[in-house]
């Protein structure tokens, strides 16, 4: 069974990944150079993808544990 603190830990980790990823994307949108495009996709996109995956996993694992 998934404890609340474990769920909160995952949620916090997902939130940090998403927030950092979004901040990187905001910076890249303001920084109009070709390298910004690479950073946008490679770093921002990766962090957001990881954040989304961890968030969805934490939600699904909580639901399974609650059944």
């Amino acid at each position: 069974m998934l404890s609340t603190s474990q769920f909160e830990k995952r949620l916090r980790f997902a939130g940090i990944c998403l927030a950092v990823g979004l901040l990187i994307e905001a910076l890249c949108l303001m920084w109009a150079t070709p390298i910004a495009f690479i950073v946008f996709v490679a770093m921002g996109g990766l962090l957001i993808a990881v954040g989304l995956a961890v968030y969805l996993y934490s939600v699904v694992s909580t639901s399974v544990a609650g059944d």
Binding site: L11, L18, L22, L23, E25, L29, A32, I35, I38
Partner: protein, 210 residues
Amino acid sequence: MPSATILIVCLVLFSAAVIGVLAARPGFTAGRGGKILAFVAMFCLPVFCGLLGFSSEMQRSKTTAFCLSCHTMGDYGKSLLVDDPTHLPASHYQNHRVPVDQACYSCHTQYAMFGGLKVKAYGLKHVFIYYLGTPPAPQDIKLYEPYNNRECLHCHLGARSFEEGVVHNADPATLPAIKSNQLSCLSSGCHDTAHDIAHLKGAKFWEKGS
């Protein structure tokens, strides 16, 4: 910065702030309302912001300024201002036959299925070579494949100047050969002066364009 980009940046920062609050206080997500808020903030908003941002970056990567921001492309940018109507890119740029702010992309994309994605993949490769490899000298840069008439015909097909042009109709076989890409627009002694950066030093430039 365009106002659309400013709006996207504001939305992205707002999303990051909401997510930051949820990450700092995960207890907010305990109730039903909190769970809905968490789903919107941590799934819907990042996906939406990511797609909006990606679309904005893709649009920006099509601009002439973006292509010319690499030092290697400097001479190609100058060649757009050559004061000579036989220079194909210059005459297209100066007479607005292509959108001035997307001059490079308009001619160097591929008007075929996934053509835009293919040329963007080439562009990513160029950026990697520019920053991590050894970029070739400007005069040594070559196209990946011979220039396809399809790119010219995307605009010129059906145009009166093309369909009824004297040279195009001097031989009845010419027009079908052009349309089927058997006779290249560029390399058949017709419109064969492209960027010609090897002779740029002695060229005369259109001053108003700069």
